[in-house]
Amino acid sequence: MNPVNYLYLAALLFTIGAAGVLIRRNAIVIFMCIELMLNACNLAFVTFSRMHGNLDGQIIAFFTMVVAAAEVVIGLAIIVTIFRSRHSASVDDAGLLKL
Amino acid sequence: MSFPLLTATAAVPALGAVATAAVPAARRTAAKWLALAFSLATLLLAAVQLVRFDPEAKGPFQLTESHAWIADFGVRYELGVDGIAVVLIALTALLVPFIVLAGWHDADPLETKSTRWRPTQGFFALILMVEAMVVIAFEATDVFLFYIFFEAMLIPMYFLIGGFGDRAGERPEAETATQRSYAAVKFLLYNLVGGLIMLAAVIGLYAVTAHQLGTGTFSLTEIVQARANGELEFATTTERALFLGFFFAFAVKAPLWPLHTWLPNAMGEATAPVAVLITAVVDKVGTFAMLRFCLQLFPEASKWATPVILVLSLISILYGALLAVGQRDIKRLIAYASISHFGFIVLGIFAMTTQGQGGATLYMVNHGISTAALMLVAGFLISRRRSRLIADYGGVQKVAPVLAGTFLVGGLATLSLPGLAPFVSEFLVLVGTFSRYPAVGVIATVGIVLAALYVLVLYQRTMTGPVKEAVRGMPDLRVRELVVVAPLIALLLFLGIYPKPLTQMIDPAVEHTMSQVEKGDPQPDVRVNDVEAAK
């Protein structure tokens, strides 16, 4: 088997995640899908690092994880706050900026 | 290098604007005097220009200044004046002090006591700003530089029109406010559209020069030079496209039928001094630019477009006059009269004869002065009765003879009565046109009759007849107002009797333009000049 398949898998997962972001209304689920996309990217990075025979890819994946962690923390906090004030986690309800 | 006179002429009013704007709210009167002082200083500099300018000197431009500005695009800060420009700058610098004086009370805040509220400062600062931009537009010999100020002018004008209407009481304040903003927006949009099309043409010009000369340039002198010695050769279609781009913008500014409808709104809603600023100063940039840029950059295309433009200007002349007859509003009437006059100016420019173009340039000056006189007096009249409707007046002549007299003189100048300045220019335009296009000349002459019609109808309805109740007890012209009107009238008389100083300035410039277009005057079939010479 050619390791390229990892990339195909990554692409597939990324697409699924993206589709999820578009389809789901629940902010939390959307967030999960975003995580999925990030992970897909990580997989690709790792595979690339294997391909080129150096560790830079892994480093980037590592940083991605860190940033993802931070992002999740903030994002979830926001979701919680929104939920508190409007009793809903649906992104469609957050339309205050619409005229 | 010597003292940068041209830059100074533009810089002084700009400084004045800043200074005036900086005056604290309470010191309103100080701001007025400051503005007046700066405008007078500008007038002084303009006078110095007139003196330093040498009509006999060789070369198209004088007092030139040139510095690299945006080197990457070959944009230069390039100033220079020819006879036409120097005369028009003088006109601008001459009119602004009168405008300031006439608008002395137009921008006094009504009842507001707020210390932040300073409309007066703004009003005069904006006027000076406009003056600065107009002056530099007249001086710029770099197309890009010109374009920038040609457009930038709109901003202060927009605020002047939209922000300060005359307090005419015949309509509720709210309505006038909406009317004003409508007029201001209309003015801005019309001119912006024109300007944007011109921008395209400007860029196109740069592209052509860059393509053919290697290094692109906006410098009028360089381009004309390059054309002269064949380095630069426009393809016919390209030249025509560029010409149209430029001409459209100028036609909007001029304004030429059918792009004229912004003028009546703007002049109607703005205060009389601002209206004068529009028609007597700002619009002149349009016609001036036709002479300087359209004809000199694109002579072939100009010749190609001449028939259409002549027809358009003919329509403007008659159409403007007829609509002026039909107006109920004094200021709108004057606006339409101006449209008719701009028709004459464009006609003269594109008649492609020395008399036509000389006359057109002279016309710009005279029209500026005469319209200023008429419009300002009309403004004084309106400020007394608080109404712009002709029907609200009657018999003013009885109660305010001096006002009526000055109004009549202004009107007679507008109908270009011989002995007053506009006659000379109008007749030159007509002769110039007639000698190349007789039919056009004859049709244009009808405009004379119509002019008489609208002026006299206006005068009869407002000034003569039994005295209306509302008019009774109307005060005659005050000293300040006399100081504004009297010099203008004196000037009208003087230039009517002795226009030679101006024609001397203008002639060489016109000759130069004509040489660019490579058209000579048509010769008379019976040469009697030799007989004359023999005597």
Binding site: G20, L36, V46, M65, V73, L76 | -
Partner: protein, 275 residues
């Protein structure tokens, strides 16, 4: 299985493992997207993540593999679960699409995007792999550490700062200020008994049009009772008194009917009666 081997193919074992786990991963992903309940999505996503961890390991990223399990599956996914609990585990959101055409567009875009991506990967020349042989020779963790503290040290520091900021931000966002001291049970009871209102407060006026807590109820004499509105709303001055517009509506209705009636009478009379 020799990871050091620079080759364009992998060992059969890895191949088998890939094909099995890949299916699991995709299934998990689909589950995360399609499950009705947030909890289920979270769990299936966790599954996918574990699979990914395995793949990392297989790709010679030992450190990342472990981190993936510890941080993602261990921390982040749990965080998700907490939030889900907070929002309500049982809350199942309908998958019925409310925005018109959204689903189709989404599907279309996703499909196109995926196809394009794969096509890109396919026609990129990614044949041969020179594995991590000497890169990992000194141990994977050491290698990473060396890079992080030399080449990527600034990025590392910045991410550190980022993490701290995130922590603070989370606190700020979720912190709730207490305006007054919480009343003890005793105090509540005394207030209840000795207070002004022994009976329950009047209920807000409830209309068929809108169930409005900010609409004061009407007392028998037709006046509104401030008490019937929540104290907070009262404090904010958000009490909406609709008795006025109710009357206005009535008047409008009467006028309309009047007009309608007059339309059938003679004009002159209707003009007289219109005003």
């Amino acid at each position: 299985m020799s990871l050091a081997a620079a080759a364009s193919t992998t060992s059969t074992g890895e191949a088998v493992q890939f094909w099995i786990l890949a299916v699991v991963a995709v299934a998990g992903a689909l589950g995360a997207v399609l499950m009705k309940k947030a909890v289920h999505s979270a769990l299936s996503l966790a599954g996918t993540m574990i699979v990914l961890a395995v793949f990392y390991l297989a790709n010679g990223a030992y450190f990342l593999g472990i981190v993936q399990i510890v941080v993602y599956t261990g921390a982040i996914m749990m965080l998700f679960l907490f939030v889900v609990m907070l929002v309500g585990v049982t809350a199942a959101d309908s998958l019925k699409e409310t925005i018109r055409g959204q689903r189709w567009l989404a599907g279309l875009c996703a499909l196109g995007f995926g196809v394009l991506l794969m096509a890109g990967i396919a026609n990129a020349s990614l044949r041969d792999f020179n594995g991590l042989g000497q890169a990992n020779s000194g141990g994977n963790v050491q290698g990473l550490a060396a890079l992080i503290f030399t080449k990527y040290v600034f990025a590392f520091e910045i991410t550190g700062a980022l993490l701290i900021t995130a922590a603070v931000g989370a606190m700020v966002l979720t912190h709730r200020e207490r305006t007054e001291r919480a009343a003890t049970q005793r105090e509540r009871s005394t207030a209840r008994v000795r207070g002004a209102h022994l009976p329950p407060l009047p209920a807000p006026g409830v209309y068929a049009r809108h169930n409005a807590v900010d609409v004061p109820g009407l007392l028998p004499d037709g006046t509104t009772s401030e008490l019937s509105v929540n104290a907070t709303l009262r404090a904010r001055g958000q009490v909406r008194d609709v008795s006025g517009d109710a009357l206005a509506d009535l008047a409008a209705l009467e006028q309309r009917s009047e007009k309608w009636l007059e339309r059938r009478e003679d004009r002159s009379h209707s003009q007289g009666g219109a005003q």
